[in-house]
Amino acid sequence: MTESGFTVDVDQNQYLPEGGREVSAIVTVTSAADAAGLAGPGPAGPVSASEGPDGSAEIIIIDCSGSMEYPHTKIAEARAATAAAVDVVRDGVLFSVIAGTNLAWPVFPADGSMARADASSRAAARQAVAGLRAGGGTAIGQWLELARQTFARYPAKLRHAILLTDGKNQHESPEQLAAAVRQCEGLFSCDCRGVGTDWEVKELRTISAALLGSVDIVPDPSGLAADFAAMMQSAMGKQVADVALRVWTPQHATVKFVKQVAPAVEDLTGRRVLSGPQSGDYPTGAWGPGESRDYHVGVEVTPAGVGQEMLAARVSLVAQSPSGADVLGQGLVRAIWTDDEALSTKINPRVAHYTGQAELAAAIQDGLEARKQGDEETATGKLGRAVALAHQSGNEDTAKLLAKVVDVVDVEAGTVRLKKQVEDADEMALDTRSTKTVRARK
């Protein structure tokens, strides 16, 4: 483990055939298992939650639209779940609760400020939440905007929100929502949960992807409390904020893609922010101790002669701090040109595995979309391909979810029949969890 508490490992086939230009590597970033090792690079480094009481800030955003009354258990379980999450907020952390309909308003503290967590503020929050009633529409952009304004008033380094909804974003335009999300990008991260089956997977996935959080379905409201407590627990574990992957490439080279591929597929390619004449930064959000994530980096280089070696990319992990960017670790992606076909044609097993996992996610999403559009032929083909990929890669969770949507005829060949009756919750669970990958170890 390096001094910074992070390690960066690169796994690739560095050999290219004569004239080859595509370099592909799996970059594994791992944080130190013990919290002490992850304090960041010294006093000038990123503020960690353990360093000061104002390290972390949490906002819980609860849908209070009219539909939350149907069934009545939804709003009741949402209240209980919010209370459960509040109970987990660590002493000293700033927190607040926001309610959302076609408007958004502060529930606790009622004046729109943030409270410092202690026994009495947590009790007061629980009491305020117990009074929540459902009624009105859904304008998620409004909710995010209020959260953004609330966060912006405090200097916390680790800002995180939990957003719960049960419906579609009906009372503002998609453009209004997209604009609100853009405003929040980089300011806070957001885990999104949809309760029931009347919400839109794509809508929440867009929000969670932009705000570097997770998205999932909680089909039965009774599951909310445990899920909320777990999300808050995980948020409380984060210690280093604003971590980015910095990818340096040689002149005349192009970054083709940067994707997180484990624990879930997130395409970061479009999130590039220039950080130098030959480098760009891709956000990874906040990190807790003992976390490990894999990234797939693809670079196109100008070929050199056989026998030559080139640094195709340097992938560094950087944290923003008052003194600039601190490098927490780095790995090198190399290219060596060879006329030995045994070397250049060797496929790196982890690159192959994650290429398959990304294809799996895309096949599921495309297949479900085609099914929705009534294009059964495309849906059958795509979901069949997904079944075969899930089987080959040992992604059992996804295979189980797929089996609720299709009847598998031949798992190897990917021959399937669409089920006539599919529970909405099963289809949405498959959609939201399509990006979850199985880890490929070295």
Partner: protein, 357 residues
Amino acid sequence: MTGGNGVCPSCGAPVRAGDSFCESCGTELAPPMVSSAPPGYQAECPVCSVDPEAPPAVITAEGYCGSCGRKVPTGRDHSELDLGLLAGMTDRGVRHTRNEDAMALATADAPGGPVAIAVVCDGVSTSPQPDDASLAAAQASVRVLLTSARRGDDPAEASLAAVRAAHQALTGMGSPDGAPSATYISAVIGSDAVTVCWLGDSRAYWLSAGPGATRLTTDDSLAEELVARGVLSEAEAMASPQAHVITRWLGADLSEPGPHVTRFEPPGPGVVLVCSDGLWNYRPEAAGLAALALPAALTDPLGAAAELVKFALDAGGIDNITVVLAPFPLAPFPAEPPHPKTVPVRRVAPLPRRTPQ
């Protein structure tokens, strides 16, 4: 003692022939020379430094050009060492990205007359840091051989002690990722005999005119074992994919290296050749090598080494090439050994420019 008097290259004080150290400042007068980058060597990008349009490039800590990303030469790509009594040349070759061969040469004005010492190590490409391993092994062993020669120790025993020192140097480099490894060969050439010690498939030859030319070593390789057992002919073995699988080597993963030692008394004048497989791949028979090296090697060992390296490069240069030549009988010990020459940068054509879309 042989040779004339000279001056210390460091302080200019007069020194006596045969002194190992300057009596005035303590500088070692005839230190061993290794094929590492020379002191003060400044790496530069072989592409950007000759491209007038390229921006000034910074070389990264890992040895890459900060502009075009090209791996820059380490100073070991090509080295030439000329110690008068013997000379050597090592070259990256054509296909490899770095030179994982290392050589170390030394001369001593020993009680029994001049002694020439050569060590050649070829890093095992499938082990981590093979280039560091070969250099560390060569450096550690040549020091032991030189000290022993100055004392007049038995060359066979000194050779075994030198292997142990090289082995110890590699043991310190081992990590959970693996054991840096290298082949090893040393030759100690005295006034009446050559003592050769080896592990792996780097070789020593006795080259002389006529039928006397002979190989002094037997490879520790699968190919050689198959030939020895009559399973394959030498030609078949060379063509087999296992020809270069070595069965003994120097590395941290071995508790006992188990080297071979042999002593050869030259019947007359000739040349001792010590080389890595980058040379003998293309001309394994002693007579063939003698035809290439002689008679130039008798009087101009460095020039002849250059010819042999060029021969291997022209033949394909598939591996790193190291050639050391020592004419026998040894020339008188020189008062001031010449300094090593290192030619670190091989310039290559600039990368084709891509027009912006």
